[in-house]
């Protein structure tokens, strides 16, 4: 039982990390950024390349080296996200919002199959492994690495939450989401704020990519697709644009999958998870922590 919970929380924290970027981007420009999962994939490959270039890593140094790689990768995918926004999304700022969906899917294809052309279809195996002994906590088997990864994820998420709720930058993001035109009248540089949002969101995805690569060991050019979908789901469930909600959404999805597998078996897992989510949304149509939007007439 505790094992199920722990499994769910651990996977869920990955979902949450990826979902955060999704949620931020969705929150600010209402874009279903299908390419977001592919930035996660890109992060995994960038980390792989950096590690490969750095040569062998002594086991004792694994964590510090990984941290350095993590930061470098975050910068890399962050910039990639910014570039993506610049090229494929910004010119469509005034087009119907679903038009962006096309360029997003296009970007997703381009990233996936571009990576395939560059790195091959074969999966790659990370040169370092976060292997370690496990110990029992309340009957669940836990490894130190898992704790470190979760800790890292929590730190990143908490920082982000502070940024969005407490700072003027965060207020600007929310204002742009509601009314970009009026935001400009307030002196908000809408383009710059959106760029920064993409940077942060993509950097988080990249971080998750490296962490997944180092923890699970295997990466491939399609690894972002499924997790992208799940991140989207988590973001929506949590209440779009709401950071703590998104985190909860990710964890909830992880738990649902874990328990769904246990109760109904792996083949019905997603039916269970989606079924519960749909039921939940029909009862609470604004997601876990979504703002109740009172539309006045």
């Amino acid at each position: 039982m505790t094992q199920l919970v722990w499994n769910g929380l651990f996977v869920g924290s990955f979902y949450a990390l990826v979902a955060l970027g999704y949620s931020m981007v969705y929150g600010i420009i209402k874009l279903l950024n299908f390419a977001h999962g592919d930035l996660y994939m890109l992060g995994a490959f960038v980390g792989f390349a950096i590690l490969g270039a750095a040569g062998g890593v002594s086991p004792a140094m694994t964590l510090p080296v990984l941290l350095a790689v993590l930061v470098a990768t975050m910068a890399g995918t962050g910039l990639a996200g910014v570039a993506l926004e610049r090229i494929a999304y910004r010119p469509l700022r005034h087009a119907p919002r679903l038009s962006l969906l096309i360029t997003a899917v296009g970007a997703s294809f381009a990233l996936e199959y571009g990576m395939r052309a560059g790195a091959g279809a074969d999966p790659r195996v990370y040169p370092v492994r976060l292997d370690g002994a496990s110990f029992e906590v309340l009957g669940a088997r836990v490894t130190l690495q898992q704790l470190v990864l979760i800790g890292l994820a929590v730190v990143l998420m908490a920082g982000l939450n502070l940024l969005v709720t407490r700072t003027r930058e965060g207020r600007a993001m929310r204002a742009i989401a509601l009314d970009p035109r009026t935001s400009r009248l307030m002196g908000i540089d809408v383009d710059a704020v959106i760029s920064r949002t993409f940077f942060i969101g993509s950097a988080l995805a990249g971080a998750a990519g490296v962490m997944a690569g180092a923890y699970y060991g295997k990466i491939d050019f399609l690894m972002g697709f499924l997790i992208g979908l799940k991140a989207f789901t988590a973001a929506v469930i949590g209440g779009i644009g709401n950071i703590p909600g998104t985190m909860l959404g990710g964890l909830l999805l992880g738990l649902l999958e874990s328990f769904g597998t246990f109760w109904l078996g792996g083949e019905w897992r997603d039916v269970f998870a989606f079924g519960v989510l749909i039921l939940f949304l029909t009862v609470r149509p604004t997601g876990l922590l979504g703002e109740r939007v009172v539309e006045r007439v």
Partner: protein, 322 residues
């Protein structure tokens, strides 16, 4: 996003040009149909026929989704669910029960309408973003269920579905005829009282309610119409391929249909047809690029959208052309 200072293409008061007149009245439709009818005379290899038949079916799917997304503004990320329901219903009834294909059509209609109601009824009260995730979820649920059940043949699906006719050329023409009727029907619905109500809802639900539009029922109607179009397209699909399996009904398929609608121009029938043809044929044209195929497909999508942000053939209000 809210309105911006940039002028939009929609609803201009420019006088109609010859081109716009040609583009938006029935001539465009007839010309499209003519192209479809004459195509086999130009190229009739099995490959070309197969691809063209698939494209026609895809057009029907896009026309159906256009009712939901383009007219009514409901973001549906699981449209392929209805396609699957139609295809599987036809597949199961022909292979397991032994009905001829045509005889399955009434059953397919019933089942898709039920599916539309089941999926739509509890969820249509949701805001668009949430509706998107719920439809996506339903799409996945349908696919996984088909993958897990025995009647649906599990992961390898159903095979040996009888076609309407053994001759691919004849089947192509049957498909074109059905699809043409479906497209015409969708267009006519769009120009009716119901179609206008869909658009009112897309623009402003509250104002639509104030005018007496029962938004819930009208949305459900859009959903059911979309479901029926999707289901019938599924029957054609099953007959065309003779074998169906869950891999044909993934989320990616839903996304592709949605792309066809948006790429062509949401709410615009000629646009949606063009979009569907482009989305289904482009990968075939790029087939010879092997490894670079989908990379280029992606890049092209971006480029096309940057050049024509409103879609290839955007909707214009009927009045704009007068």
């Amino acid at each position: 996003m809210t309105t911006t200072g940039q002028p939009r293409l929609l609803g201009t008061d420019k006088p109609p040009t010859l081109v716009s007149r040609l583009m938006d009245n029935r001539w465009a439709g007839l010309a499209g149909l003519l192209v479809a009818v004459l195509a086999p005379f130009v190229i009739a290899t099995p490959y070309a026929l197969s691809v063209m038949t698939s494209a026609a079916i895809f057009v029907m799917l896009a026309a159906g989704l256009n009712i939901v997304v383009g007219y009514c503004g409901l973001l549906d990320l699981g449209y392929v669910a209805f396609f699957a329901v139609g295809a599987y219903t036809a597949g199961v009834l022909t292979t397991r029960v032994g009905l001829p294909l045509l005889a399955t059509v009434p059953a397919v209609l019933v089942v898709t309408v039920i599916a539309g109601v089941v999926i739509g009824a509890p969820t249509l009260r949701l805001r668009s973003d949430y509706l998107a995730i719920v439809t996506l979820g339903f799409g996945e649920i349908i696919r996984i269920t088909a993958n897990n059940l025995d009647v649906t043949g599990g992961p390898s699906g159903i095979y040996g579905i009888p076609s309407l006719t053994a001759n691919p050329v004849v089947f192509y023409y049957v498909t074109v005829a059905v699809v043409a009727l479906a497209v015409l029907g969708a267009a006519r619905l769009g120009r009716s009282r119901m179609g206008r109500a869909w658009r009112f809802i897309r623009e402003d639900e509250d104002a639509a309610e104030a005018m007496g539009v029962h938004t819930y029922k009208v949305k459900l109607a859009a959903y059911i119409a979309g479901a029926v179009w999707g289901g019938l397209a599924g029957v054609l699909f099953a007959a065309h391929l003779s074998a169906i399996s869950p891999t044909s009904f993934t989320f990616l398929q839903s996304a592709l249909v949605l792309m066809a609608v948006v790429l062509g121009g949401m709410g615009s029938i000629p646009g949606v047809v063009v979009g569907a043809v482009v989305i289904s044929l482009l990968p075939e044209f790029l087939r010879d690029l092997a490894d670079y195929r989908f990379f280029l497909f992606g890049v092209l999508l971006i480029v096309v959208m940057l050049v024509r942000p409103q879609g290839l053939w955007p909707a214009r209000s009927k009045e704009a052309l007068k």
